[in-house]
Amino acid sequence: MSGLIDIKTAKSALPEPRRRLVDQLVADNKPSKPAPSVLGQWLAWLGFSLVAVVFSLFLIGPQFEIMDRLTEPASGGFLLLTFILAAFSAWVGIASSMPQYRPRWAPRMVAGFLILFLFAMPFLFFDRESLAGVVTLDMADGWFCARTVVWIALPTWLMLGWMASRNASFYPRWTGAWLGISAFLLGAGTIQLHCARWETCHMLMDHLLPMLLFIFLPIWIGGYWFARWRK
């Protein structure tokens, strides 16, 4: 039984380096607040995301025929899948920032398959216009949609990152990647509520491509940020 061990005897039985390490760790022990549960942190993300989406739509405005779009299977399904994937990635990202997390293939496979399907949806269900036309329009409006996706993703990722950095991730790059995917998808979903251009090239280039182009950033930064707890 634990209560019966003699600390002095147990300590003197330890080799010198271990004894010194124990002393250092004990001296370094300070009161700490237990980390919130994954569910608690995910709910905090959910609340923040709702605020971010509503605030963004307040600024840029929803598209005129949004209710029609939401009730159409293809566009409604696209939006639903985008937000569900964002929520799923946020959950796995937060879970991966906990020290007891064990990486498994199942969530990666599921997320990978669904993201592929999400990228395929514009080809399968929406009108195709010419790429040149999309680029011309983008040049004219200064790539508004792509910029907005990044602007929504940035604070969301920072908020998620702040929460995850207070945990203790053994897989910091994976944590960064999951949280990055979540943030970009939230941006993509929000801009899709605003943008009335349900066209293959535009959706891919301006709404989804920012995630592919910039995903290396959350992975790279996450590799440092979420590993800081071990320093």
Binding site: V22, N29, M98, Y101, W229
Partner: protein, 186 residues
């Protein structure tokens, strides 16, 4: 060692006290889990030279991650998952360091064998002198004076992890300097 439910409950209780800042409880907890952690590490690390280093890394990770334990949940799953991840991370780190580490012992042996006529001794001394102060100290204490990581870290008044980083950078710089010197002499 036989671990029963009472033992785990006691450790969960000690974790709770530790999180509230109770140093005596933490000391007891560390002393009690140390043999188990060491056994766990020993079974998973084949290179016996690294067992002690990995054990220390694991205990340090446990220390840094202890705030993530939720006292309303059972202790064993959290404990073993953290220890397992920490062992894996420590092994990966050790592997990276081993892969990139300059075999300084080999250089010193070559220097001794090939005599001073090649000037290898001098070159190593010159290269050491060219290192930044903090990296030079780390390399000297670990490789020339043969101190353990613990003792060397204590001597310099820094953490083990910081010492390893300094030494590792020192090896890399030393290699770079020696290679540059060799290229120039050719």
């Amino acid at each position: 060692m036989d671990f029963n439910d009472d033992q785990w409950k006691t450790w969960a209780q000690l974790m709770k006290l530790t999180q509230s800042g109770d140093k005596a409880a933490y000391e007891r907890l560390l002393l009690e889990i140390s043999p188990l952690v060491f056994h766990f590490v020993h079974k998973r690390v084949f290179d016996q030279d690294h067992v002690e280093d990995v054990f220390q890394d694991v205990l340090l990770s446990f220390h840094k991650a202890k705030h993530s334990y939720r006292t309303d949940l059972p202790f064993p799953p959290w404990f073993f998952a953290v220890i397992r991840n920490a062992v894996w991370a420590a092994l990966k780190k050790n592997y990276r360091i081993t892969q990139r580490e300059v075999p300084l012992e080999d250089l010193l042996e070559i220097a001794a064998l090939e005599t001073a006529e090649d000037g290898i001794d001098d070159r190593i001394h010159q290269a050491m002198a060219a290192l930044p102060e903090m990296n030079r100290q780390a390399v000297e204490l670990l490789k020339l004076k043969g101190m353990s990581v613990d003792v060397a870290a204590k001597t310099l008044g820094i953490s083990n992890a910081a010492l390893r980083v300094r030494a590792h950078r020192g090896y890399a710089l030393l290699k770079k300097i020696l290679v540059t010197q060799a290229e120039k002499s050719e």
